[in-house]
Every structure is written in structure tokens, then in C-alpha cells.
């Protein structure tokens, strides 16, 4: 099935933080349409949480419209669709929003059960998949963010924490092809977007994920060979540019 997706417009560090006022007027015209259009994904190019949704939609071969959000000037549609957290990603399905990335991935899996199952059939295996995806959710982003936000002793502590998480995940993967076994699934989708940040973690914190968890290396390669992943993940160098931009914004050297 052909996959027609609007390519994301990358927000480069040199772009102005506040978009021109006209963008809001354009969006307010779209809003009435956007509410009833098939599938719309409100997202931000570098977000690993957004990438999870893109990967899941691609795995299922589902058409959708990608909309890039300016996180410093969130659209009325985003604020209306996710009033509780006001965050991306949000998947709007015929005007009805679904929020939170792992929630969205499970929704996609349940809505299109006839192809590319993202969760195993067995209930216990499903529970295990949810457990490890939940662990990635609870630990990876916060821990990874500390690596480039902190310095000195605090950064060293953050490194230890991050290495522990990597080793835990490496242990769970073992010699399997994917976290779920032979089939690419929820845990792989939850984790693989963070691998685009490994270069940034190395550059900012001198932490080599490859050295600390070598068994993850073939898994990363295997995942990136999937079109759903290679088309959804950003270039690690672009991620690093973005991290450098954020460090300037936060006044971190």
C-alpha cells in the first residue's frame, strides 16, 4: 500500500523561535478541516516520542498527514487536542485525539489488527512487552537528558544511571533478533528512537552506548534496516545540532 506522508519540515537551529503570525491564521483555517481529516499526527521532528508513532503507522502501512509543531508557539489544534499535557505527539483520528506515544502505538495496533502486529498474541508476552516499553518510558528520556544538561559530578552520576539502563535493556534483548523475539514490536518501537541520540550522548558526556551495551549494536542496525525506522529517525548529526542549540538556549556550556 503506498504510503503518502508529508515530509517533516526540519526546525533547524537557525530558524526563528517564534514563527510569523500568518502561520496561526493558516492553521485556524485548517483546524476545521484537520478535525475531520482521516489521520493527522501532530509532532516535532526530533521527538523520539513522535518517532514511535511514525514508525508504528509505517509498519501498518497507514496513510496520515504529518504536521510539524513549533513547541514554543503551539498551535490551537494541539492545545485543543491535548489540553491536559499540551504536548506532542497527538494522533487525531477523524477529529478524535489520542495522546501519549505508547498509548498511540497501542491504539494503532488495536485499530489495524489485521497486519504487522506490534504486540505478541500471548497475554504474558504482551505483559512483558508493556513492562519493558514502560521502563524505557520511565527511564530513557529523563536519564538521557541529564547527560547533556548536567556537568561535573552530576553528569558522572547521570552516566552511571544511563549505563545501568542500557545494560538492563541489553540483558533483556539477549541474543534475540528483536525484544519481542522474531517480530519487531512495541519495545523496539519504544527504544529505537533514542538511538538517534547516542551520538549526542557521546559528544556531550563521553558515553559510548555501543561500548557499554555492545549487544544493542546489531539490534540497532537490524532496526534501521526497516524502512519504517530509517524513514522516521532523524540523522544523529542533526539531533546533535539540535542539542547544541538547546544548550545555548539553556545557557549550558
Amino acid at each position: 500500500m503506498p504510503l503518502r506522508v508529508k515530509a517533516p519540515r526540519p526546525l533547524l537551529p537557525t530558524e526563528p523561535i517564534s514563527p510569523p503570525a500568518t502561520k496561526h491564521r493558516e492553521r485556524s483555517i485548517w483546524m476545521a478541516e484537520g478535525e475531520n481529516k482521516g489521520l493527522v499526527l501532530l509532532d516535532f521532528w526530533v521527538s523520539p516520542f513522535g518517532q514511535r508513532c511514525r514508525i508504528a503507522l509505517a509498519e501498518k502501512g497507514v496513510e496520515y498527514e504529518y504536521r510539524e509543531e513549533n513547541l514554543r508557539d503551539k498551535s490551537p489544534l494541539l492545545l485543543k487536542s491535548n489540553p491536559v499535557h499540551k504536548k506532542i505527539p497527538v494522533l487525531i483520528d477523524h477529529g478524535r485525539p489520542v495522546c501519549e506515544s505508547l498509548n498511540i502505538v497501542q491504539y494503532i495496533d488495536e485499530k489495524w489488527p489485521d497486519r504487522a502486529p506490534l504486540l505478541p498474541a500471548d497475554s504474558y508476552a504482551r505483559a512483558q512487552a508493556r513492562f519493558w516499553a514502560d521502563l524505557v518510558d520511565k527511564k530513557m528520556y529523563e536519564s538521557g537528558t541529564k547527560l547533556w544538561k548536567l556537568k561535573g559530578e552530576a553528569q558522572e552520576e547521570a552516566k552511571k544511571e544511563f549505563i545501568e539502563i542500557l545494560k538492563l535493556l541489553e540483558g533483556e534483548l539477549g541474543d534475540k533478533k528483536y525484544f519481542g523475539g522474531d517480530t519487531f514490536g512495541l519495545v523496539d518501537i519504544a527504544l529505537v528512537p533514542f538511538t538517534a541520540w547516542f551520538y549526542s550522548y557521546e559528544a556531550c558526556a563521553n558515553l559510548s552506548a555501543e561500548k557499554e551495551a555492545p549487544k544493542l549494536v546489531p539490534w540497532v542496525k537490524r532496526c534501521r534496516e526497516r524502512e519504517s525506522v530509517s524513514k522516521s529517525l532523524p540523522d544523529p548529526l542533526k539531533v546533535y545540532e539540535f542539542v547544541c542549540f538547546l544548550k545555548k538556549v539553556y545557557g549550558i556550556e
Binding site: 495522546c99 501519549e100 488495536e110 504474558y124 505483559a127 514502560d134
Partner: protein, 221 residues
């Protein structure tokens, strides 16, 4: 006959309670294993090596940890009295509110009761915002799950029972009947359920537990 289902729990722990409630709602027989959280058993640590916490559900010897994930497993394994809707989007909404409870609401409520001064004020503001969102979500419904108790109601059980005790111990008021009439009505309906009452820890015991904890914290200062 060997008991197929076991629950590692701690009697006053609201996350453990969620699991027991779900099993009772579905009429599933189980054995509970009481854990002393200050001296966790080797078994618990073996079954939940990552988080080392209660609750853990053991089914045919296989462990599942994290209360919300256990609820999903229970729902998939025993089909009587469903606690999640069938429609994928409604399921996503239920999961959203369960996560909201765990990640934001219950944290704010808990911390409001154990902190002081400006920190406490900030947590109380957050808690009130969260309660307001839940109040709106309940509009026109008997339970979060509609006409019957669902996963969100189970996840919110600490609001129905633990919160009142914590408010008393901390000397604060959060669940104001004037501001949150839907939530207060929901609490009443929730506590009418036999399954809810069967394994709910006694209020007096919870009060004693939290008062002891408060005294221990105060004496350290």
C-alpha cells in the same frame, strides 16, 4: 488444588489494592502474600528484580509487575466483567487517564500531604488542577468507566479511600465537595461496591499507619 494466582502485596499499599480489586471484580480466586516493605522477601526481589516493588501478580508461576500493567493482564486473561471498553479509542482514553493518575495526580496528592510550606502549596495547586480535570472527565458518568467500575476507577481508588486519611494526617483539605461534586459522588458510588469493600484496608488502620509515619518524619527533623 494449587492456587494459580498469587498477589505479592502490602496491606496499606493502594497499588497492591488495585490488583486485588480487579481480581475480585472478575471473580478470580487468589492467594495474597503479605510483604513487609522495610524487609522485602527474596521471592519478591526475584520476581521483580527491576523495580523491587509490590504489587507483583504471579500466574502459573510467572510474575507480572507494575499495577497498571497487571490490570491489563488481568483484563486480557479473565474476560468476565470487562474493565476496559472494546473500542480502541475509548481504550486509549482509559489508558490515558490511568497514566495521568499515576504520573501526575496521585504524585501531587501524595506530596501535598507529606511536604510543608511553599513546596506543599505548589503541590496542593497541582493537586487541585488534577482533581479539576478528573471532575470534568466524570461529567454525566457514574464511574470513569461509564455504568460500571472500569480500569480508571480502579486506578483512582486511592482518591476514594486513602486521600481522606492523608488529608486528616496532614491537616489539609483537597477533595472539597463544593468544588468537586462529581468526584465526591463518584467516591460514594465506588464505595458501595461489594468487591471494593471486601479488600479495602480499614480506615482506622490506615490512619494509624500514616500517623506513625508522620511522627517518624517529624522526629527526624
Amino acid at each position: 488444588m494449587a492456587v494459580e494466582v498469587k498477589v505479592f502485596r502490602s496491606w496499606g499499599n493502594p497499588f497492591s489494592y488495585r490488583v486485588e480489586l480487579a481480581l475480585r471484580l472478575k471473580g478470580v480466586a487468589y492467594e495474597h502474600i503479605e510483604e513487609d516493605l522495610s524487609n522485602k522477601s527474596t521471592l519478591l526481589l526475584d520476581y521483580n528484580p527491576v523495580h523491587k516493588k509490590v504489587p507483583v501478580l504471579l500466574h502459573h508461576g510467572k510474575p507480572i509487575a507494575e499495577s497498571l500493567l497487571i490490570l491489563e493482564y488481568i483484563e486480557e486473561t479473565w474476560q468476565e466483567n470487562p474493565i476496559l471498553p472494546k473500542d480502541p479509542r475509548e481504550r486509549a482514553v482509559a489508558r490515558f487517564w490511568c497514566r495521568f493518575l499515576d504520573d501526575k495526580c496521585l504524585v501531587a496528592l501524595w506530596m501535598s500531604c507529606w511536604t510543608e510550606g511553599e513546596t506543599q502549596q505548589n503541590f496542593m495547586e497541582q493537586a487541585k488542577e488534577c482533581l479539576h480535570l478528573l471532575e470534568e472527565e466524570l461529567k454525566g458518568k457514574k464511574f470513569f468507566g461509564g455504568d460500571s467500575i472500569g480500569m480508571v476507577d480502579i486506578a483512582a481508588s486511592s482518591i476514594a479511600h486513602w486521600l481522606g486519611v492523608l488529608e486528616e494526617v496532614a491537616g489539609i483539605s483537597l477533595l472539597d465537595e463544593e468544588k468537586y461534586p462529581n468526584l465526591c459522588k463518584w467516591t460514594e458510588e465506588f464505595l458501595k461496591s461489594d468487591a471494593v469493600m471486601e479488600c479495602l484496608p480499614k480506615r482506622a488502620n490506615l490512619l494509624a499507619l500514616f500517623q506513625t509515619r508522620k511522627q517518624a518524619i517529624s522526629s527526624v527533623k
